[in-house]
Symmetry: C2
Subunit: 265 residues, 2 copies
Protein backbone atom coordinates (compact mmCIF):
# COMPACT_ATOMS: atom_id res chain seq x y z
CA UNK A 1 0.00 0.00 0.00
CA UNK A 2 1.14 3.53 -0.67
CA UNK A 3 2.41 5.54 2.29
CA UNK A 4 1.41 9.21 2.10
CA UNK A 5 3.28 11.87 4.09
CA UNK A 6 2.81 15.62 4.36
CA UNK A 7 6.00 17.56 5.21
CA UNK A 8 4.81 20.59 7.13
CA UNK A 9 5.95 23.62 9.10
CA UNK A 10 4.38 27.06 8.79
CA UNK A 11 7.73 28.59 9.77
CA UNK A 12 9.72 29.67 6.75
CA UNK A 13 13.14 28.43 5.77
CA UNK A 14 13.41 25.46 8.15
CA UNK A 15 14.32 22.80 5.58
CA UNK A 16 11.01 21.43 4.27
CA UNK A 17 11.89 21.58 0.59
CA UNK A 18 15.51 20.49 1.09
CA UNK A 19 14.23 17.49 3.04
CA UNK A 20 11.53 16.47 0.55
CA UNK A 21 13.96 16.69 -2.38
CA UNK A 22 16.89 14.87 -0.80
CA UNK A 23 15.03 12.37 1.35
CA UNK A 24 12.90 11.61 -1.71
CA UNK A 25 16.03 11.04 -3.79
CA UNK A 26 17.56 8.82 -1.07
CA UNK A 27 14.41 6.68 -0.89
CA UNK A 28 14.31 6.34 -4.69
CA UNK A 29 17.94 5.24 -4.62
CA UNK A 30 16.90 2.51 -2.17
CA UNK A 31 14.50 1.18 -4.81
CA UNK A 32 11.25 2.74 -3.58
CA UNK A 33 8.86 4.23 -6.13
CA UNK A 34 8.57 7.80 -4.88
CA UNK A 35 6.22 10.61 -5.94
CA UNK A 36 7.00 14.09 -4.61
CA UNK A 37 4.31 16.77 -4.76
CA UNK A 38 5.13 20.50 -4.78
CA UNK A 39 2.27 22.25 -3.01
CA UNK A 40 4.09 25.58 -2.69
CA UNK A 41 3.37 28.34 -5.26
CA UNK A 42 7.03 29.37 -4.81
CA UNK A 43 7.82 26.07 -6.60
CA UNK A 44 11.18 25.62 -4.88
CA UNK A 45 10.93 21.80 -4.93
CA UNK A 46 10.16 21.98 -8.65
CA UNK A 47 13.21 24.16 -9.31
CA UNK A 48 15.44 22.09 -7.04
CA UNK A 49 14.68 19.00 -9.14
CA UNK A 50 15.44 20.82 -12.39
CA UNK A 51 11.84 21.21 -13.61
CA UNK A 52 10.48 24.49 -15.06
CA UNK A 53 7.48 25.69 -12.99
CA UNK A 54 4.30 26.08 -15.06
CA UNK A 55 5.69 24.09 -17.96
CA UNK A 56 2.81 21.67 -18.57
CA UNK A 57 0.14 20.37 -16.16
CA UNK A 58 1.04 20.23 -12.49
CA UNK A 59 -0.31 20.69 -8.98
CA UNK A 60 -2.63 23.53 -10.01
CA UNK A 61 -4.32 21.47 -12.70
CA UNK A 62 -4.59 18.54 -10.27
CA UNK A 63 -6.35 20.65 -7.64
CA UNK A 64 -8.68 22.38 -10.10
CA UNK A 65 -9.64 19.10 -11.74
CA UNK A 66 -8.23 19.71 -15.21
CA UNK A 67 -5.54 17.01 -15.05
CA UNK A 68 -5.13 13.54 -13.63
CA UNK A 69 -2.11 12.49 -11.58
CA UNK A 70 -0.71 10.57 -14.55
CA UNK A 71 -0.56 13.75 -16.67
CA UNK A 72 0.83 16.00 -13.96
CA UNK A 73 3.60 13.74 -12.66
CA UNK A 74 7.08 14.04 -14.27
CA UNK A 75 9.89 11.50 -14.02
CA UNK A 76 12.99 13.30 -12.74
CA UNK A 77 15.22 10.40 -11.67
CA UNK A 78 15.04 6.61 -11.59
CA UNK A 79 12.10 5.78 -9.28
CA UNK A 80 11.53 9.50 -8.62
CA UNK A 81 8.57 11.51 -9.90
CA UNK A 82 7.52 15.08 -9.14
CA UNK A 83 4.17 16.84 -9.54
CA UNK A 84 5.43 20.36 -10.19
CA UNK A 85 4.08 23.62 -8.90
CA UNK A 86 3.66 27.03 -10.49
CA UNK A 87 2.65 30.51 -9.38
CA UNK A 88 -0.97 29.66 -10.43
CA UNK A 89 -1.14 27.65 -7.24
CA UNK A 90 -1.41 30.90 -5.30
CA UNK A 91 -4.64 31.52 -7.19
CA UNK A 92 -5.86 28.03 -6.34
CA UNK A 93 -5.84 28.92 -2.65
CA UNK A 94 -8.36 31.67 -3.40
CA UNK A 95 -10.34 29.79 -6.06
CA UNK A 96 -10.82 26.78 -3.82
CA UNK A 97 -12.25 28.73 -0.92
CA UNK A 98 -15.86 28.28 -2.03
CA UNK A 99 -15.52 24.86 -3.62
CA UNK A 100 -17.56 22.10 -2.00
CA UNK A 101 -15.37 19.35 -0.60
CA UNK A 102 -12.35 21.59 -1.17
CA UNK A 103 -10.14 19.79 1.36
CA UNK A 104 -10.79 16.43 -0.23
CA UNK A 105 -9.56 17.09 -3.76
CA UNK A 106 -5.99 15.99 -3.18
CA UNK A 107 -7.20 13.08 -1.08
CA UNK A 108 -9.23 11.72 -3.99
CA UNK A 109 -6.18 11.81 -6.28
CA UNK A 110 -4.02 9.98 -3.74
CA UNK A 111 -6.65 7.26 -3.23
CA UNK A 112 -6.49 6.55 -6.98
CA UNK A 113 -2.68 6.23 -7.15
CA UNK A 114 -2.24 3.15 -4.96
CA UNK A 115 -0.82 0.97 -7.73
CA UNK A 116 1.98 3.26 -8.81
CA UNK A 117 3.92 4.46 -5.80
CA UNK A 118 5.36 3.15 -2.54
CA UNK A 119 5.71 6.64 -1.06
CA UNK A 120 4.04 9.97 -1.80
CA UNK A 121 5.57 13.00 -0.04
CA UNK A 122 4.04 16.47 -0.17
CA UNK A 123 6.15 19.63 0.24
CA UNK A 124 3.97 22.28 1.87
CA UNK A 125 4.24 26.07 1.84
CA UNK A 126 5.13 28.01 4.99
CA UNK A 127 1.54 28.61 6.06
CA UNK A 128 -1.48 26.83 7.55
CA UNK A 129 -3.79 27.92 4.70
CA UNK A 130 -5.94 26.00 2.26
CA UNK A 131 -3.06 24.33 0.41
CA UNK A 132 -1.55 22.90 3.60
CA UNK A 133 -5.05 21.96 4.74
CA UNK A 134 -5.49 19.93 1.54
CA UNK A 135 -2.29 18.07 2.33
CA UNK A 136 -3.37 17.34 5.92
CA UNK A 137 -6.73 15.99 4.74
CA UNK A 138 -5.14 13.86 2.07
CA UNK A 139 -2.36 11.98 3.88
CA UNK A 140 -1.98 9.38 6.60
CA UNK A 141 1.17 10.80 8.18
CA UNK A 142 2.87 14.08 9.00
CA UNK A 143 6.59 14.76 9.28
CA UNK A 144 7.77 18.06 10.70
CA UNK A 145 11.20 19.53 9.83
CA UNK A 146 12.33 21.73 12.70
CA UNK A 147 15.30 24.04 13.14
CA UNK A 148 16.53 23.63 16.74
CA UNK A 149 16.30 27.34 17.57
CA UNK A 150 14.57 29.05 20.47
CA UNK A 151 11.33 30.11 18.84
CA UNK A 152 10.84 26.92 16.82
CA UNK A 153 8.82 25.26 19.59
CA UNK A 154 6.36 28.12 19.72
CA UNK A 155 5.47 27.59 16.08
CA UNK A 156 5.22 23.86 16.70
CA UNK A 157 2.40 24.32 19.20
CA UNK A 158 0.30 26.19 16.66
CA UNK A 159 1.03 23.58 14.00
CA UNK A 160 -0.01 20.69 16.22
CA UNK A 161 -3.23 22.54 17.07
CA UNK A 162 -4.07 22.59 13.35
CA UNK A 163 -3.19 18.90 12.94
CA UNK A 164 -5.44 18.10 15.89
CA UNK A 165 -8.39 19.99 14.39
CA UNK A 166 -8.03 18.21 11.03
CA UNK A 167 -7.70 14.83 12.74
CA UNK A 168 -10.81 15.38 14.86
CA UNK A 169 -13.04 16.80 12.15
CA UNK A 170 -11.90 15.51 8.78
CA UNK A 171 -9.12 12.91 8.78
CA UNK A 172 -9.33 10.58 11.80
CA UNK A 173 -6.32 8.44 10.81
CA UNK A 174 -3.92 11.41 10.58
CA UNK A 175 -0.78 10.97 12.68
CA UNK A 176 2.37 12.96 13.31
CA UNK A 177 5.00 10.23 13.25
CA UNK A 178 8.24 12.15 13.24
CA UNK A 179 10.13 15.38 13.70
CA UNK A 180 13.38 15.81 11.76
CA UNK A 181 15.94 18.29 13.08
CA UNK A 182 17.31 20.36 10.18
CA UNK A 183 20.15 22.85 9.91
CA UNK A 184 21.47 21.29 13.09
CA UNK A 185 24.54 23.03 14.49
CA UNK A 186 26.45 20.25 16.24
CA UNK A 187 28.18 21.08 19.46
CA UNK A 188 26.06 24.11 20.23
CA UNK A 189 24.28 24.45 23.55
CA UNK A 190 21.25 25.89 21.77
CA UNK A 191 20.52 22.76 19.73
CA UNK A 192 20.86 20.58 22.82
CA UNK A 193 18.52 22.76 24.87
CA UNK A 194 15.83 22.94 22.19
CA UNK A 195 15.94 19.16 21.70
CA UNK A 196 15.61 18.62 25.46
CA UNK A 197 12.57 20.93 25.55
CA UNK A 198 11.08 19.12 22.58
CA UNK A 199 11.58 15.70 24.17
CA UNK A 200 9.96 16.90 27.38
CA UNK A 201 7.00 18.23 25.42
CA UNK A 202 6.56 14.99 23.46
CA UNK A 203 6.84 12.76 26.51
CA UNK A 204 3.88 14.61 28.04
CA UNK A 205 1.70 13.48 25.14
CA UNK A 206 2.58 9.79 25.28
CA UNK A 207 -0.50 7.67 25.85
CA UNK A 208 -2.91 10.51 25.14
CA UNK A 209 -5.38 10.58 22.23
CA UNK A 210 -3.47 13.33 20.46
CA UNK A 211 -2.38 12.60 16.89
CA UNK A 212 1.27 13.23 17.94
CA UNK A 213 1.20 10.86 20.91
CA UNK A 214 3.62 8.51 19.10
CA UNK A 215 5.71 11.18 17.38
CA UNK A 216 9.46 10.64 17.57
CA UNK A 217 12.39 12.95 17.09
CA UNK A 218 14.32 11.10 14.43
CA UNK A 219 17.83 10.28 15.61
CA UNK A 220 19.18 11.09 12.13
CA UNK A 221 19.68 14.86 12.18
CA UNK A 222 20.54 17.00 9.16
CA UNK A 223 23.61 19.10 9.92
CA UNK A 224 24.22 22.52 8.42
CA UNK A 225 26.12 21.95 5.18
CA UNK A 226 26.48 24.67 2.56
CA UNK A 227 26.48 21.96 -0.16
CA UNK A 228 22.75 21.50 0.55
CA UNK A 229 22.20 25.18 -0.20
CA UNK A 230 24.30 25.03 -3.37
CA UNK A 231 22.80 22.08 -5.22
CA UNK A 232 19.36 23.65 -5.97
CA UNK A 233 21.01 26.22 -8.26
CA UNK A 234 22.15 23.33 -10.43
CA UNK A 235 18.78 21.56 -10.38
CA UNK A 236 20.50 18.75 -8.52
CA UNK A 237 19.97 16.72 -5.39
CA UNK A 238 22.87 16.40 -2.94
CA UNK A 239 23.51 12.90 -4.28
CA UNK A 240 24.09 14.25 -7.80
CA UNK A 241 26.05 17.27 -6.59
CA UNK A 242 28.26 16.11 -3.75
CA UNK A 243 27.64 12.45 -2.80
CA UNK A 244 30.45 12.36 -0.22
CA UNK A 245 29.25 15.42 1.71
CA UNK A 246 27.78 15.46 5.21
CA UNK A 247 24.49 16.51 3.60
CA UNK A 248 24.38 13.35 1.49
CA UNK A 249 25.36 11.15 4.45
CA UNK A 250 22.71 12.70 6.67
CA UNK A 251 19.87 12.33 4.17
CA UNK A 252 20.91 8.74 3.40
CA UNK A 253 20.80 7.96 7.12
CA UNK A 254 17.44 9.71 7.40
CA UNK A 255 16.04 7.55 4.59
CA UNK A 256 16.77 4.36 6.50
CA UNK A 257 15.13 5.56 9.68
CA UNK A 258 12.25 7.10 7.74
CA UNK A 259 11.33 3.72 6.27
CA UNK A 260 11.16 2.14 9.72
CA UNK A 261 8.92 4.87 11.09
CA UNK A 262 6.74 5.87 8.12
CA UNK A 263 6.71 2.77 5.91
CA UNK A 264 7.38 -0.27 8.08
CA UNK A 265 7.27 -3.57 6.18
CA UNK B 1 13.09 64.76 11.60
CA UNK B 2 12.24 61.14 12.32
CA UNK B 3 13.52 58.50 9.90
CA UNK B 4 11.05 55.66 9.35
CA UNK B 5 12.16 52.31 8.00
CA UNK B 6 10.24 49.12 7.23
CA UNK B 7 12.32 45.92 7.46
CA UNK B 8 10.76 43.55 4.97
CA UNK B 9 11.10 40.15 3.31
CA UNK B 10 8.21 37.77 2.69
CA UNK B 11 10.65 34.85 2.90
CA UNK B 12 10.67 33.31 6.37
CA UNK B 13 13.63 33.02 8.65
CA UNK B 14 16.06 35.34 6.84
CA UNK B 15 16.99 37.57 9.78
CA UNK B 16 14.37 40.36 9.86
CA UNK B 17 13.64 40.17 13.58
CA UNK B 18 17.24 39.52 14.59
CA UNK B 19 18.26 42.60 12.58
CA UNK B 20 15.54 44.91 13.94
CA UNK B 21 16.33 43.92 17.54
CA UNK B 22 20.12 44.13 17.37
CA UNK B 23 20.50 46.98 14.90
CA UNK B 24 17.93 48.85 16.99
CA UNK B 25 19.95 48.20 20.12
CA UNK B 26 23.18 49.28 18.41
CA UNK B 27 21.61 52.55 17.25
CA UNK B 28 20.24 53.23 20.73
CA UNK B 29 23.73 52.64 22.15
CA UNK B 30 24.99 55.32 19.73
CA UNK B 31 22.60 57.80 21.37
CA UNK B 32 19.72 57.69 18.88
CA UNK B 33 16.15 57.62 20.21
CA UNK B 34 14.85 54.45 18.62
CA UNK B 35 11.31 53.05 18.44
CA UNK B 36 10.93 49.47 17.21
CA UNK B 37 7.51 48.24 16.09
CA UNK B 38 6.55 44.58 16.08
CA UNK B 39 4.11 44.09 13.21
CA UNK B 40 4.26 40.27 13.31
CA UNK B 41 1.50 38.34 15.14
CA UNK B 42 4.21 35.80 16.04
CA UNK B 43 5.62 38.57 18.25
CA UNK B 44 9.21 37.36 17.99
CA UNK B 45 10.66 40.88 18.29
CA UNK B 46 8.55 41.41 21.40
CA UNK B 47 9.83 38.18 22.97
CA UNK B 48 13.42 38.86 21.92
CA UNK B 49 13.36 42.15 23.83
CA UNK B 50 11.95 40.48 26.94
CA UNK B 51 8.37 41.81 26.68
CA UNK B 52 5.30 39.61 27.19
CA UNK B 53 3.10 39.64 24.06
CA UNK B 54 -0.45 40.88 24.72
CA UNK B 55 0.45 42.30 28.13
CA UNK B 56 -1.08 45.78 27.83
CA UNK B 57 -1.78 47.89 24.71
CA UNK B 58 0.41 47.31 21.67
CA UNK B 59 0.44 47.16 17.87
CA UNK B 60 -3.09 45.72 17.70
CA UNK B 61 -4.59 48.55 19.73
CA UNK B 62 -2.61 51.06 17.65
CA UNK B 63 -3.98 49.69 14.37
CA UNK B 64 -7.57 49.38 15.61
CA UNK B 65 -7.55 52.89 17.05
CA UNK B 66 -7.97 52.03 20.73
CA UNK B 67 -4.56 53.29 21.84
CA UNK B 68 -2.15 56.09 20.99
CA UNK B 69 1.55 55.52 20.34
CA UNK B 70 2.41 56.88 23.77
CA UNK B 71 0.36 54.16 25.51
CA UNK B 72 1.52 51.31 23.34
CA UNK B 73 5.27 51.99 23.36
CA UNK B 74 7.39 50.38 26.14
CA UNK B 75 10.86 51.40 27.20
CA UNK B 76 13.08 48.33 27.07
CA UNK B 77 16.60 49.84 27.15
CA UNK B 78 18.13 53.31 27.34
CA UNK B 79 16.94 55.13 24.18
CA UNK B 80 15.11 51.98 23.02
CA UNK B 81 11.35 51.57 22.89
CA UNK B 82 9.21 48.77 21.49
CA UNK B 83 5.56 48.70 20.42
CA UNK B 84 4.82 45.05 21.18
CA UNK B 85 2.76 42.61 19.18
CA UNK B 86 0.35 39.88 20.19
CA UNK B 87 -1.59 37.11 18.49
CA UNK B 88 -4.57 39.52 18.15
CA UNK B 89 -2.62 41.12 15.34
CA UNK B 90 -3.52 38.13 13.16
CA UNK B 91 -7.15 39.15 13.61
CA UNK B 92 -6.30 42.75 12.68
CA UNK B 93 -5.27 41.62 9.21
CA UNK B 94 -8.81 40.31 8.70
CA UNK B 95 -10.61 43.10 10.57
CA UNK B 96 -8.86 45.82 8.61
CA UNK B 97 -9.78 44.43 5.20
CA UNK B 98 -12.95 46.50 4.94
CA UNK B 99 -11.80 49.57 6.84
CA UNK B 100 -11.67 52.78 4.85
CA UNK B 101 -8.13 54.17 4.62
CA UNK B 102 -6.86 50.88 6.05
CA UNK B 103 -3.32 51.28 4.72
CA UNK B 104 -2.96 54.72 6.25
CA UNK B 105 -3.58 53.92 9.90
CA UNK B 106 0.03 53.29 10.82
CA UNK B 107 1.12 56.25 8.70
CA UNK B 108 -1.05 58.60 10.73
CA UNK B 109 0.52 57.39 13.98
CA UNK B 110 4.04 57.88 12.63
CA UNK B 111 3.27 61.38 11.41
CA UNK B 112 2.30 62.29 14.98
CA UNK B 113 5.48 60.96 16.61
CA UNK B 114 8.00 63.36 15.03
CA UNK B 115 9.07 64.94 18.31
CA UNK B 116 9.97 61.78 20.16
CA UNK B 117 12.15 59.57 18.03
CA UNK B 118 15.14 59.78 15.67
CA UNK B 119 14.47 56.38 14.13
CA UNK B 120 11.37 54.19 13.87
CA UNK B 121 11.98 50.66 12.55
CA UNK B 122 9.15 48.23 11.78
CA UNK B 123 9.65 44.44 11.92
CA UNK B 124 7.34 42.88 9.34
CA UNK B 125 5.90 39.37 9.14
CA UNK B 126 6.97 36.93 6.39
CA UNK B 127 4.19 37.88 3.99
CA UNK B 128 3.03 40.65 1.64
CA UNK B 129 -0.39 40.94 3.29
CA UNK B 130 -2.23 43.83 4.89
CA UNK B 131 0.14 44.23 7.84
CA UNK B 132 3.21 44.56 5.61
CA UNK B 133 1.19 46.84 3.32
CA UNK B 134 0.51 49.13 6.28
CA UNK B 135 4.23 49.34 6.94
CA UNK B 136 5.01 50.14 3.29
CA UNK B 137 2.41 52.91 3.24
CA UNK B 138 3.65 54.38 6.50
CA UNK B 139 7.42 54.68 6.04
CA UNK B 140 9.90 56.59 3.92
CA UNK B 141 12.45 53.81 3.53
CA UNK B 142 12.71 50.04 3.11
CA UNK B 143 15.56 47.80 4.21
CA UNK B 144 15.63 44.19 3.03
CA UNK B 145 17.46 41.48 5.00
CA UNK B 146 18.51 38.75 2.58
CA UNK B 147 20.10 35.35 3.09
CA UNK B 148 22.62 34.85 0.28
CA UNK B 149 21.14 31.55 -0.92
CA UNK B 150 20.09 30.51 -4.41
CA UNK B 151 16.35 31.12 -4.22
CA UNK B 152 16.58 34.37 -2.26
CA UNK B 153 16.71 36.48 -5.43
CA UNK B 154 13.49 34.98 -6.75
CA UNK B 155 11.61 36.17 -3.67
CA UNK B 156 13.28 39.58 -3.99
CA UNK B 157 11.73 40.15 -7.41
CA UNK B 158 8.24 39.65 -6.04
CA UNK B 159 8.95 41.89 -3.06
CA UNK B 160 10.20 44.74 -5.24
CA UNK B 161 7.09 44.40 -7.42
CA UNK B 162 4.97 45.07 -4.31
CA UNK B 163 7.13 48.03 -3.26
CA UNK B 164 6.76 49.46 -6.75
CA UNK B 165 2.97 49.18 -6.66
CA UNK B 166 2.77 50.92 -3.28
CA UNK B 167 5.16 53.65 -4.42
CA UNK B 168 3.19 54.31 -7.59
CA UNK B 169 -0.28 54.26 -6.06
CA UNK B 170 -0.07 55.23 -2.39
CA UNK B 171 3.33 56.36 -1.12
CA UNK B 172 5.33 58.23 -3.76
CA UNK B 173 8.33 58.93 -1.53
CA UNK B 174 8.92 55.26 -0.67
CA UNK B 175 12.48 54.11 -1.40
CA UNK B 176 14.40 50.88 -0.96
CA UNK B 177 17.72 52.19 0.34
CA UNK B 178 19.54 49.06 1.41
CA UNK B 179 19.86 45.29 1.40
CA UNK B 180 21.58 43.68 4.36
CA UNK B 181 23.09 40.22 3.90
CA UNK B 182 22.23 38.03 6.90
CA UNK B 183 23.34 34.59 8.01
CA UNK B 184 26.33 35.12 5.71
CA UNK B 185 28.60 32.10 5.43
CA UNK B 186 32.03 33.60 4.79
CA UNK B 187 34.31 31.82 2.39
CA UNK B 188 31.54 29.96 0.61
CA UNK B 189 31.21 30.12 -3.15
CA UNK B 190 27.43 30.32 -2.78
CA UNK B 191 27.41 33.63 -0.90
CA UNK B 192 29.82 35.15 -3.44
CA UNK B 193 27.73 34.02 -6.40
CA UNK B 194 24.45 35.28 -4.96
CA UNK B 195 25.99 38.67 -4.12
CA UNK B 196 27.37 38.96 -7.66
CA UNK B 197 23.91 38.20 -9.09
CA UNK B 198 22.36 40.74 -6.76
CA UNK B 199 24.86 43.44 -7.72
CA UNK B 200 24.23 42.78 -11.41
CA UNK B 201 20.50 43.07 -10.83
CA UNK B 202 20.79 46.33 -8.91
CA UNK B 203 23.16 47.93 -11.41
CA UNK B 204 20.51 47.41 -14.10
CA UNK B 205 18.11 49.62 -12.12
CA UNK B 206 20.51 52.55 -11.61
CA UNK B 207 19.13 55.74 -13.12
CA UNK B 208 15.64 54.31 -13.61
CA UNK B 209 12.50 55.59 -11.88
CA UNK B 210 12.20 52.46 -9.79
CA UNK B 211 12.05 52.95 -6.01
CA UNK B 212 15.14 50.71 -5.65
CA UNK B 213 17.25 52.59 -8.19
CA UNK B 214 19.56 53.81 -5.40
CA UNK B 215 19.47 50.67 -3.28
CA UNK B 216 22.83 49.50 -1.99
CA UNK B 217 24.04 46.20 -0.64
CA UNK B 218 25.41 47.25 2.70
CA UNK B 219 29.07 46.34 3.01
CA UNK B 220 28.53 45.33 6.64
CA UNK B 221 27.30 41.74 6.45
CA UNK B 222 25.94 39.73 9.37
CA UNK B 223 27.82 36.45 9.64
CA UNK B 224 26.25 33.25 10.94
CA UNK B 225 26.83 33.21 14.69
CA UNK B 226 24.96 30.87 17.00
CA UNK B 227 25.10 33.53 19.75
CA UNK B 228 22.52 35.52 17.75
CA UNK B 229 20.18 32.53 17.88
CA UNK B 230 20.77 32.04 21.61
CA UNK B 231 20.13 35.49 23.02
CA UNK B 232 16.36 35.65 22.26
CA UNK B 233 15.71 32.83 24.75
CA UNK B 234 17.08 35.12 27.46
CA UNK B 235 15.13 38.18 26.29
CA UNK B 236 18.48 39.79 25.48
CA UNK B 237 20.09 41.54 22.59
CA UNK B 238 23.52 40.35 21.45
CA UNK B 239 25.07 43.33 23.25
CA UNK B 240 23.62 42.18 26.59
CA UNK B 241 24.35 38.51 25.96
CA UNK B 242 27.76 38.32 24.27
CA UNK B 243 29.20 41.78 23.49
CA UNK B 244 32.51 40.42 22.20
CA UNK B 245 30.93 38.02 19.67
CA UNK B 246 31.02 38.30 15.87
CA UNK B 247 27.27 38.94 16.03
CA UNK B 248 27.76 42.01 18.21
CA UNK B 249 30.63 43.29 16.06
CA UNK B 250 28.63 42.85 12.87
CA UNK B 251 25.53 44.64 14.15
CA UNK B 252 27.64 47.48 15.56
CA UNK B 253 29.31 47.89 12.16
CA UNK B 254 25.90 47.76 10.48
CA UNK B 255 24.64 50.55 12.73
CA UNK B 256 27.37 52.93 11.54
CA UNK B 257 26.69 52.29 7.87
CA UNK B 258 22.92 52.35 8.45
CA UNK B 259 23.09 55.91 9.75
CA UNK B 260 24.96 57.07 6.65
CA UNK B 261 22.43 55.47 4.31
CA UNK B 262 19.11 55.80 6.13
CA UNK B 263 19.61 58.78 8.45
CA UNK B 264 22.30 61.04 6.99
CA UNK B 265 22.92 64.22 8.96
N1 LIG C 1 21.15 21.55 6.32
C1 LIG C 1 21.27 22.67 5.62
N2 LIG C 1 22.47 23.29 5.56
C2 LIG C 1 22.62 24.45 4.88
N3 LIG C 1 21.65 25.06 4.20
C3 LIG C 1 20.42 24.48 4.21
C4 LIG C 1 20.17 23.25 4.90
N4 LIG C 1 18.85 22.93 4.71
C5 LIG C 1 18.34 23.89 3.94
N5 LIG C 1 19.27 24.83 3.62
C6 LIG C 1 19.08 26.06 2.84
O1 LIG C 1 18.31 26.94 3.65
C7 LIG C 1 17.30 27.59 2.86
C8 LIG C 1 15.92 27.21 3.38
O2 LIG C 1 15.71 25.82 3.22
P1 LIG C 1 14.37 25.24 2.56
O3 LIG C 1 14.02 25.99 1.32
O4 LIG C 1 14.52 23.76 2.44
O5 LIG C 1 13.33 25.58 3.72
P2 LIG C 1 11.74 25.58 3.62
O6 LIG C 1 11.25 25.26 4.99
O7 LIG C 1 11.27 24.71 2.50
O8 LIG C 1 11.46 27.11 3.26
P3 LIG C 1 10.04 27.73 2.84
O9 LIG C 1 9.31 27.90 4.13
O10 LIG C 1 10.37 29.03 2.19
O11 LIG C 1 9.38 26.75 1.93
C9 LIG C 1 17.52 27.15 1.42
O12 LIG C 1 18.35 28.13 0.78
C10 LIG C 1 18.28 25.83 1.56
O13 LIG C 1 19.09 25.58 0.44
N1 LIG D 1 23.39 35.69 11.82
C1 LIG D 1 22.74 34.68 12.41
N2 LIG D 1 23.41 33.60 12.85
C2 LIG D 1 22.79 32.55 13.44
N3 LIG D 1 21.46 32.49 13.65
C3 LIG D 1 20.72 33.53 13.23
C4 LIG D 1 21.31 34.68 12.60
N4 LIG D 1 20.32 35.56 12.31
C5 LIG D 1 19.18 35.00 12.74
N5 LIG D 1 19.40 33.78 13.30
C6 LIG D 1 18.41 32.84 13.84
O1 LIG D 1 17.70 32.31 12.70
C7 LIG D 1 16.30 32.23 12.99
C8 LIG D 1 15.54 33.13 12.02
O2 LIG D 1 15.91 34.48 12.22
P1 LIG D 1 14.82 35.64 12.38
O3 LIG D 1 13.73 35.23 13.32
O4 LIG D 1 15.52 36.91 12.69
O5 LIG D 1 14.25 35.68 10.89
P2 LIG D 1 12.92 36.37 10.39
O6 LIG D 1 13.17 36.76 8.98
O7 LIG D 1 12.47 37.45 11.31
O8 LIG D 1 11.88 35.17 10.46
P3 LIG D 1 10.29 35.28 10.26
O9 LIG D 1 10.11 35.32 8.78
O10 LIG D 1 9.75 34.01 10.87
O11 LIG D 1 9.81 36.52 10.94
C9 LIG D 1 16.14 32.65 14.45
O12 LIG D 1 16.14 31.47 15.25
C10 LIG D 1 17.37 33.49 14.72
O13 LIG D 1 17.73 33.47 16.09
MG1 LIG E 1 9.98 25.14 0.93
MG1 LIG F 1 10.64 37.80 12.23
Amino acid sequence: AVHTIAVINQKGGVGKTTTVANLGAALAAKGKHVCLMDLDPQAHLTLTLGVEPGDGPGMYELLTGSAALGDAARDVRKNLTVVPSSIDLAAAEVELVSTVGREQILRDHLLKCERQYDIVMIDCPPSLGLLTLNALCAVQDVMIPLQPHFLALQGLGKLLETVSLVQKRINPSLKVRGIVLCMYETGTRLAGEVVADLEAFLSQSRGTAQPWSDARILSAVIRRNVKLAECPSHGQTIFDYEPSSNGAQDYAALAGEFLNIFAPP
